[in-house]
């Protein structure tokens, strides 16, 4: 039995990676997780210049999940390349760098800086963040705009490109097809679901940004459905995420058609969850006589 997976020419020792923005750049979890054990680490989104992010409160718990409106606070590509990437490179795991921008040019510039510096295994293009005014989800909710971003990134890098899609659309397969046709090697989904919470005592929205993105177990059925649909609409491999909290959840995504599974908010609920999920998938494969992960996916195709 081998739980390894190759997508877009990159070998993952197992199908479990972390979701962007939920695992810092790995160092924050190093007390709890042997990073060498992970298939990969997707780092917090970075932009060409530092971004300040949204005013607090930025996170709030909701039933079975949470809302966040961090607004992609990050130190910028330069600081990331100097401090964070070298740390992560010390480990035997794939590094997926997640990029964000306000304009097509900003995405392309971030992609170029990261490719030229070396050290990243894949680029994930966040065209789905609900928490910034311009850019982010605005690109991910229109097939033509999504195509423009992916095309611009594709032209500046030889790294495999992952298009990260938003669930806040009418038909996610249209966006996936547009991204694939402009050269996205993989599709990752879902980003958070737009939501809000009002405090009945203060009678005001809780989040400083009013709206935020819902994540955690509460969104898993939406994510599984969208992975299923997308897997049947494109041939690019899929990274599935949204509420994965244990091995059973992860296997559900593999059955829906994902090649890799990303673990997000569950890291907050249990910092060692990634390793537990890897062990659980391997146990499931042994018990069910699967010799590789593709066989799980093949069950439903």
């Amino acid at each position: 039995m081998n739980s390894g997976v190759a997508i877009a020419g990159v070998w993952f020792k197992n199908p479990v990676i972390t979701a962007s923005g939920t695992f810092g750049h790995g160092e924050e979890y190093a007390d709890f997780v042997d990073l060498n054990k992970l298939g990969g680490v997707t780092v917090k989104g970075v932009s060409t210049e530092p971004w300040k992010g949204n005013k607090p409160p930025r996170v709030v718990e909701t039933y079975g999940g949470m809302l966040n409106a961090v607004g992609l606070q990050n130190p910028g590509v330069k600081a990331f390349l100097q401090k964070d990437l070298p740390y992560l490179r010390r480990f035997d795991t794939n590094v997926i760098v997640n990029i964000c921008g306000h304009t097509v040019d900003e995405y392309a510039a971030a992609a170029r800086m990261i490719s030229e510096a070396g050290g990243a295994d894949m680029l994930e293009v966040n065209i789905s963040c609900p928490n910034i005014q311009d850019g982010g989800m605005a690109f991910g909710s229109d097939p033509a705009a999504a195509a423009r971003v992916i095309k611009a990134v594709r032209e500046t890098t030889r790294l495999p490109v992952i298009a990260k899609l938003s669930p806040n659309v009418t038909d996610i397969t249209e966006i996936a097809k547009a991204a694939e046709s402009e050269g996205a090697d993989c599709i990752s989904l879902i980003n958070t679901v737009l939501g809000m919470k009002i405090d009945v005592k203060t009678k005001k929205p809780v989040l400083g940004n009013v709206f935020g993105g819902l994540s955690g177990p509460a969104i898993k059925p939406i994510a599984v459905r969208m992975v299923w649909q997308t897997a049947r609409a494109v041939s690019a491999p899929i990274i599935g995420m949204g509420g994965v909290s244990d091995a059973e959840d992860a296997i559900e995504f593999l059955l829906a058609g994902a090649s890799l599974v990303a673990v997000g908010s569950a890291n907050f609920f249990n910092p060692t969850v990634t390793v537990e999920i890897i062990e659980g998938i391997e146990k499931y494969m042994l018990e069910n006589g699967f010799s590789n992960v593709a066989e799980i996916r093949a069950q439903t195709v």
Partner: protein, 271 residues
């Protein structure tokens, strides 16, 4: 390794005053390594309420391996916590964050309000144990009256037991000074006695703001412990930020990893 997530056994979970509970947990690693001003997060083991709750370390006994947290029941999570029993197991992570500086001064002013008082008891214990000098404590409560009982000045006796009798303020005047702790401090203190003093504060934002203003006025070294909503508690999600000064500009810093204790000069209170 500086933080651990431990399956701890609850050794005490007692109702202490109004809606306040006194919990002790067997968590030897945290008891051994925690410094004053740090906090822990408690995982509720409830599939609907998934985020860990942060609480200041109120005491840590290296000998018994126990830590103490004192918490107010303010929502569903703390209600779940208040219903747990002795011998129940619960995951707790810590010690987290940057604590109070405790060295380099011989005069200490501690100002606490409400649920901000617990970590200050731990601070006072550590200062007293280190014979760090002269300590004054000012504690503010909303009221000490509940159901006709005068039991609301939680933890005040614990300060007295270590030999530092706190001065008490209450919003309704039900005990001590009528007003808040910073106003009591102004009323009681001799400005001349404040040379080389350091102020430590934890409590509601309005109180911290008042303390910061007083520290500037009297030119005192001042450290405050701030609160913000958290998700990871590990510096990973960038959820728990506070606005701070940064090279003539400003930036958002993380309360869980850059704090919760900040120099009062650094923090902006406008948000």
């Amino acid at each position: 390794m500086d933080k651990k997530r431990i399956k701890a056994i609850i050794t005490v979970n007692a109702h202490m005053a109004a809606n306040m509970f006194d919990m002790r947990l067997s968590a030897p690693f945290i008891a051994e390594t925690a410094v004053a001003g740090q906090f822990v997060t408690v995982y509720l083991n409830d599939g609907a309420r998934l985020l860990p709750r942060p609480f200041g370390v109120c005491g840590a006994d290296r000998r018994t391996g126990e830590i103490r947290i004192v918490y107010g029941v303010v929502g569903e999570g703390t209600r779940v916590l208040s219903r747990m029993r002795e011998d129940d197991e619960i995951f707790v992570m810590g010690p987290i964050g940057v604590g109070f500086p405790t060295e380099g001064r011989e005069r200490h002013i501690i100002i606490g309000g409400g649920a901000g008082i617990p970590p200050l008891l731990f601070l006072c214990q550590r200062l007293a144990k280190a014979n760090a000098g002269n300590i004054d404590v000012f504690l503010g409560y909303r009221t000490v009256l509940t159901d006709g009982h005068r039991n609301g000045a939680f933890l005040a006796n614990d300060f007295s037991e270590i030999g530092v009798v706190p001065k008490i303020a209450t919003d309704d005047g039900s005990l001590g000074f009528k007003g808040d702790a910073p106003s009591l401090f102004v009323k009681e203190i001799e400005p001349a006695s404040l040379r080389n003093a350091r102020v430590y504060a934890c409590g509601p934002n309005g109180m911290l703001k008042a303390v910061a203003r007083l520290a500037r006025k009297f030119d005192l070294d001042c450290f405050i412990s701030v609160e913000e909503r958290m998700a990871c508690g590990l510096g990973a999600c960038v959820g728990c930020v506070v606005k701070v000064k940064d090279k003539g500009e400003w930036t958002y810093k993380k309360v869980c990893s850059n704090g919760p204790v900040f120099s009062a000069e650094e923090v902006f209170f406008d948000e």
